[in-house]
């Protein structure tokens, strides 16, 4: 008998598949035995996990096989479990000993200067959990292609472990549309519903996941199945069409050209992407780089220059260090702020560290010698912050000139994410504006996006927030200042018509979402009355 469970849509689309439940390891329990028993238990769990990985590797090819092969090589290395065996000899339970040993290893990776090494911490998390599952006697996390992953919450590494090329979907009891898994799901077009509550535990058998409506349908009727299959097919066709037209400009039905740029955090994000697919880089996040190179002008310059060369004359917008808030940098951001989101962050912090800020500004001015670099200041509230940054930029340019180093003075713009700045936009002097819709939305709605209990309030389509965006678009463009939007809303098919109607003509989105964003723009007719009141 068909029944529907409702939650929040986190990634659009529909899919039908068999439920594959994943139970959280944190909730698992086991009783510890003697040190001999515990030693045997962990050895057996490691061996079983290694055998499981070996089977997986054999079934994969290319990059996936190499990633799993790395995990297997680590797991087979006795050095990995040395600490755990020592703790067990001292009387620790196998699961505690293993978790503690792996957490030390994981912390070591996270502390690395190099982002490549940092990123490997997720492999160690996978290894840790795979062994723990065997230790606790939990079902192996093994989803058939096309399955619906059903869980309380899902780790990014679990998402990445699944082969999504044969369909599939995600249904979560908790979770958030703003989680990393949700971003991955949207980028790969995997339908996802979150916030189902305790009902997730009862999901079994055949499920239809409707990421558009935020519904999970259990035991769908033949009629529901037929409708869903039609929607899957239509979506696949539309996605194929969007992909074929990825390199073409995005023009609305009534002939309005909309610029589509990309948001990046490093060179990995543009690897293999033809520059012709976009109108430049609308946002470069530099926090990842800064963690390791905050004082390293050459390394920063090398990255910025590589981006400029890739862009072949298209504008490259680079945001200065946006640390603080949810992005702490040890030794740089303030410790123990009572409310870090409203604290010393972004440009506020950069201006407190003029020497380190100067390193970044010099690297940016040097990269500008090779193409149009635009510097974007995050978290600006007042004009004097822009003026202070401009003076520091002048000083950086002066230093480069004095040393005879090739440079150019980049344009200096602001990210509009503080509501007070958005309201004051008509009086603000900056070379360009880019709306950071994520923070603007959560500040204006007074609701955190990563708190499932209130995240539905943080809706960019709230008329008040759309009003703010329209205000910035209208008054921002007076005097010929370009206005763009670089938050998640820019690639949200539900938000795109409203953003264009609010006056925006430039969006910056994740590289993987360029094709779909352009397709959404092409479907809008600005000369017609909006559907659904948008």
């Amino acid at each position: 008998m068909e029944r529907a469970v409702s939650g929040l849509g986190a990634a659009a689309g529909v899919a039908v598949g068999t439920a594959c439940p994943i139970h959280a390891i944190a909730a698992a329990e086991r009783e510890a035995g003697s040190p001999d028993d515990e030693r045997a238990a962990i050895a057996n769990a490691i061996q079983a996990a290694a055998a499981e990985l070996a089977t997986l590797v054999a079934a994969q090819s290319g990059e996936a096989a190499e990633i799993l092969g790395f995990q297997g090589a680590m797991l087979e290395d006795e050095a990995l479990a040395e600490g755990a065996f020592a703790a067990i000899a001292d009387g620790a339970a196998a699961h505690d000993a293993w978790t503690a040993a792996l957490d030390v290893e994981i912390a070591g990776y996270l502390a690395a200067d190099d982002p490549y090494f940092q990123a490997r911490s997720s492999d160690l998390v996978d290894i840790r959990d795979r062994v723990l599952r065997h230790l606790f006697g939990l079902d192996e996390f093994k989803a058939e292609p096309g399955a619906v992953l059903v869980a309380e919450d899902l780790q990014p590494s679990q998402f990445l472990a699944m082969d999504w090329s044969h369909g599939g979907a995600i249904a979560l009891g908790a979770g958030s549309p703003q989680s990393h898994v949700a971003m991955l799901a949207r980028a790969r077009a995997v339908p996802m519903v979150v916030g189902l509550g305790p009902a997730w535990e009862a999901l079994s058998g055949l499920l239809a996941v409707d990421g558009d409506a935020g519904l999970v349908i259990v035991d769908p009727s033949p009629a529901t199945l037929a409708t869903t299959q039609r929607r899957v097919a239509a979506r696949r066709e539309a996605a194929g069409e969007a992909e074929r037209r990825r390199l073409e400009p995005a023009i609305t039905r009534d002939g309005v050209l909309v610029q589509v740029s990309i948001n990046v955090a490093g060179l990995d994000d543009i690897a293999g992407l033809p520059v012709e697919a976009c109108d430049g880089i609308g946002l470069t996040r530099t926090e990842f780089l800064a963690m390791s190179s905050i004082d390293d002008e050459e390394r920063q310059f090398a990255l910025y220059r590589a981006l400029v060369r890739w862009a072949k004359g298209r504008p490259v917008t680079i945001r200065t260090l946006d640390a603080g808030g949810d992005k702490p940098i040890p030794g740089y951001t303030a410790d123990n702020e009572s409310n870090p989101f409203l604290g010393l962050r972004g440009i506020r912090l950069s201006l407190r560290h003029p020497d380190r800020f100067g390193v970044q500004l010099r690297a940016l001015a040097r990269a500008a010698a090779e193409g149009p670099v635009r510097i974007m200041l995050p978290m600006v509230t007042r004009q004097d912050e822009i003026d202070d940054a401009a003076r520091l930029l002048d000083r950086a340019v002066g230093e480069l000139r004095a040393c005879g180093i090739a440079h150019a003075r980049p344009q200096l713009g602001v990210m509009v994410e503080v509501p007070a700045l958005a309201f004051a936009i008509a009086q603000i002097r900056a070379d360009f504006l880019s709306i950071g819709s994520n923070d603007l939305t959560q500040y204006a709605a007074a609701a955190a996006r990563d708190n499932p209990a209130v995240s539905s309030y943080a809706d960019t389509l709230h008329p008040g927030i759309l009003g703010l965006i329209g205000h910035v678009a209208r008054y921002g463009s007076t005097g010929g200042r370009p206005v763009s939007l670089c938050g998640d809303a820019g690639a949200d098919p539900r938000a795109i018509p409203a953003l264009l109607r609010a006056g925006l003509r430039s969006l910056s989105v994740a590289p993987g979402l360029v094709a779909a964003t352009k397709a959404s723009i092409r479907a809008v007719d600005l000369s017609q009355e909006p559907e659904h009141g948008l």
Partner: protein, 100 residues
């Protein structure tokens, strides 16, 4: 320093610049240890000429070194096939682990 009887006579060292983009990262580490395991010799690697040395057959220990692009890798080997082993490892690093 402790020497086993077998390697008392042969302790070989060599060094090579790490030039592949990601350093001694996941795949390169696995390739290095796989190559090292083909030899009977005791093989160790370090990022400084005086150590600390880690077992070149242990991917876990090699990953802990976090050797980045531009660093010099020092190898030392002892045992029957130490020379061939060093040769193979140096060659692998010079070939950038066949990745680029």
């Amino acid at each position: 320093m402790k020497f086993t009887p077998e390697n008392k006579t042969t302790e070989l060292t060599a060094s090579v610049l790490l030039t592949n983009e990601v350093g001694l990262h996941a795949r390169p580490s696995v390739k290095l240890t796989q190559s090292a395991k083909r030899f009977r010799a005791r093989l160790e690697v370090a990022t400084a000429p005086d150590g600390p040395w880690v077992d070149a057959k242990s991917p876990v220990k090699i990953m802990r070194v976090k050797a980045a692009k531009g660093e010099t890798l020092y190898f030392r080997a002892s045992g029957a096939d130490a020379f061939e082993a060093l040769d193979a490892l140096i060659d692998l690093v010079k070939r950038r682990f066949d990745e680029e």
